[in-house]
């Protein structure tokens, strides 16, 4: 018996670290259960509910959607240990309709009730996103407005052929906006997501166009021999950072959308691309091969001094920024026979620690959410690709499978 007590005590000691880690992880999350009160359960709706709750970083569900009644205040005894119960009923008689109720698990009292309806059945995922957004808001958690946003992306369909599509963040909903031709590098032009910039290869030289996704009206913003890409849009939408090559050299320019004037920001006889505003600091980060390999640098728009930001890896060829925080992809094998393994790292443009975000597969196209709390990326592993999301605060992550066609660029 003495040995049994020693064993129990030892197990308890070893369990402390794990428990404390779990406690820290769930510290700010509410335990929640989801009950489907629909006549016919819809697997897609269930999966999106669970994904939304998980990636919000504010809820801890048991990963299951339970079957139950919608209307009453009854909470199954097994779910009383949660703090909240979400009950929903999904119907699709004349367009999708989602009714949602939020109950307090302990006594079944109702905290919130709302219905959401659409005429377009394809946009069903946005009903769920909006419902979870509202639940999150009602419970006074930090805003998760990014969950309602469109993702815009381009993908190759054949050599010199592509299409640009919209998706919800889970890629359950997708719709082609520009079909045919070679149209690349879509970038949202405004925070309301009414228009996006993209590069058209319809003419002899690449052209930067802007299209309104609701009216289809297009306008030409700029063109350049060689290449032209809209890499970033200022917070107020009044300026854009371009990668252009009017003299055959890829450099970064800032363009005022009010005057149409362009200011050359980088001057280098090599590759300078992917300029991203560092908040409103008047500085940018960008990718350059000025050390002989692709790496991340920063500079002020109005001055010539350039400083290295990343001191890790030998091929860091994509970056995104939110405030002074940056996320970049680093190729871990640097030769043609070394596979195509890229990993993502989180760091600061002002120095400090670097945090790895991924460890397996090929992880590229990192993009911050509008609030900088989530990182979107594309993962290739084996023969399949997925869109991934990492909640930087809760470390929760999600992957959604994509079709076989190769993603060219993406924006959120």
């Amino acid at each position: 018996m003495r040995y049994l007590l020693i064993l129990l005590f030892s197990l308890h000691l070893f369990a402390i670290d794990a428990s404390m880690k779990i406690e820290k992880d769930v510290e700010h999350r509410s335990r929640i259960a989801v009950i489907d009160g629909s006549d016919v359960m819809n697997g897609k709706v269930s999966r999106i509910f669970l994904s939304d709750l998980k990636i919000s970083g504010h809820f801890l569900s048991d990963g299951t959607v339970h079957k139950g009644d919608f209307s009453g205040s009854f909470v199954p005894p097994g779910l009383k240990g949660r703090e909240y119960i979400v009950k929903y009923r999904y119907t699709n008689p004349n367009g999708p309709k989602l009714e949602v109720r939020l109950l307090k698990a302990s006594d079944g009292s109702q905290l919130f009730e709302k219905s959401y309806a659409l005429s377009n059945a394809q946009k069903m995922p946005f009903l769920v996103h909006k419902a979870v957004y509202d639940i999150n808001r009602i419970l006074k958690y930090p805003d998760i407005g990014w969950i309602n946003r469109y993702v815009v992306f381009s993908r190759y369909t054949a050599p010199k052929r592509s299409e640009i599509l919209l998706a919800d963040y889970t890629f359950t909903y997708t719709k082609v906006i520009i079909r045919g031709g070679l149209n690349l590098f879509p970038k949202w032009a405004d925070s309301a997501q009414k228009s996006f910039y993209y590069t058209s290869y319809a003419g002899l030289v690449p052209t930067l166009n802007k299209i309104n996704i609701y009216t289809g009206s297009k306008s030409t913003v700029a063109s350049s021999e060689g290449m032209i890409v809209c890499s970033d849009v200022s917070d107020d939408g009044g300026k854009i950072l371009l990668t252009m090559a009017p003299e055959g050299q890829a450099d970064i320019y800032e363009m005022s959308l009010f005057t149409g004037s362009k200011t050359r920001v980088t001057h280098f006889n090599g590759v300078d691309v992917s300029g991203k505003y560092l908040g409103r600091s008047g500085q940018i980060v960008f990718v350059s091969n000025r050390l002989g390999y692709a790496n991340i640098f920063k500079k002020s728009i109005g001055s010539g001094a350039v400083s290295q930001v990343v001191f890790h890896g030998r091929n860091n060829n994509a970056v995104d920024a939110h405030g002074s925080t940056i996320v970049y992809s680093s190729r871990e094998s640097n030769n043609a026979f070394g596979g195509n393994r890229f990993n993502l790292y989180l760091s600061s443009a002002n120095g400090g620690t670097t945090r790895p975000l991924t460890t397996t597969g090929s992880n590229q196209f990192p993009r911050f959410s509008t609030d900088g709390k989530i990182v979107l990326y594309i993962k290739q592993r084996g023969g399949s690709s997925s869109v991934g999301y990492i909640n930087l605060e809760s470390s929760q992550s999600l992957l959604f499978p994509l079709g076989g066609r190769k993603i060219q660029s993406i924006d959120w």
Binding site: L5, L8, H12, S19, E23, V26, E27, R29, S30, E83, S109, L111, F112, K114, S115, Y116, A117, L118, N120, K123, K130, L139, P159, K160, S162, I177, R179, G180, G181, L182, N183, F185, Y201, A202, G203, L204, V205, I213, Y214, K218, G226, M227, V229, T243, A245, G248, A250, V273, S274, A294, N317, A318, S329, R331, N335, A336, F337, N340, F365, Q408
Partner: protein, 172 residues
């Protein structure tokens, strides 16, 4: 004594795990309130624009008597073995009139804008080499297709090598 110790351990463990729960955010007056509404906020149909008929030009090899120039991995300098192709292309240019389109291409190793800039450097290298052989700069237009225009897609180095190239053709 042992029984008492075991029960104490169980009680402490239960107490410890009960601490993992956390306080719910405070609500103000929405409890039990029926705010059932038909939301119309998620609306607005988007368009689909068809640009299939708009130019751009197909073809993933050189044409009009020009020959493609190939590059090493991650490189944009013209090797000694490729110089003869550039010379042949310059000679071919002398036999033609009108603009020559020089298209830079890359393998699939690379992301986003960097790969397009690399393709552009390759196209620029060929343009400069052609100019050195007497072709007028004003006749040549460079463009990068990045990794968008592969001639093959198998995961072999010989295939990747075929995609790291510059194609030349007469602009139409």
């Amino acid at each position: 004594m042992i029984k008492q110790t075991v029960w104490t351990a169980i009680t402490l463990t239960a107490f410890f795990f009960s601490g993992c729960g956390q306080t719910a955010p405070t609500l103000d007056g929405t409890k039990g309130k029926n705010n059932f509404t038909d939301a119309t906020e998620i609306s607005g149909d988007t368009v689909t624009v068809n640009e299939s008929g708009e130019g751009g030009g197909l073809g993933n090899s050189s044409a009009d008597g020009f020959r493609s120039v190939y590059f090493d991995f991650g490189d944009y300098s013209i090797s000694g073995t490729m110089q003869s192709k550039v010379s042949a292309d310059a000679a071919r240019a002398a036999q033609t009139s009108g603009k020559i389109k020089i298209e830079g291409n890359c393998d699939e190793f690379g992301t986003d804008e960097y790969n397009y800039a690399l393709g552009l450097k390759r196209a620029k290298a060929v343009k400069d080499a052609m100019a050195a052989e007497g072709v007028q700069n004003g006749r040549m237009v460079i463009i990068s297709y990045g990794e968008s225009n592969p001639v093959c897609s198998s995961p072999t180095d010989s295939c990747y090598a075929r995609n790291r190239r510059v194609d030349l053709r007469l602009a139409r």
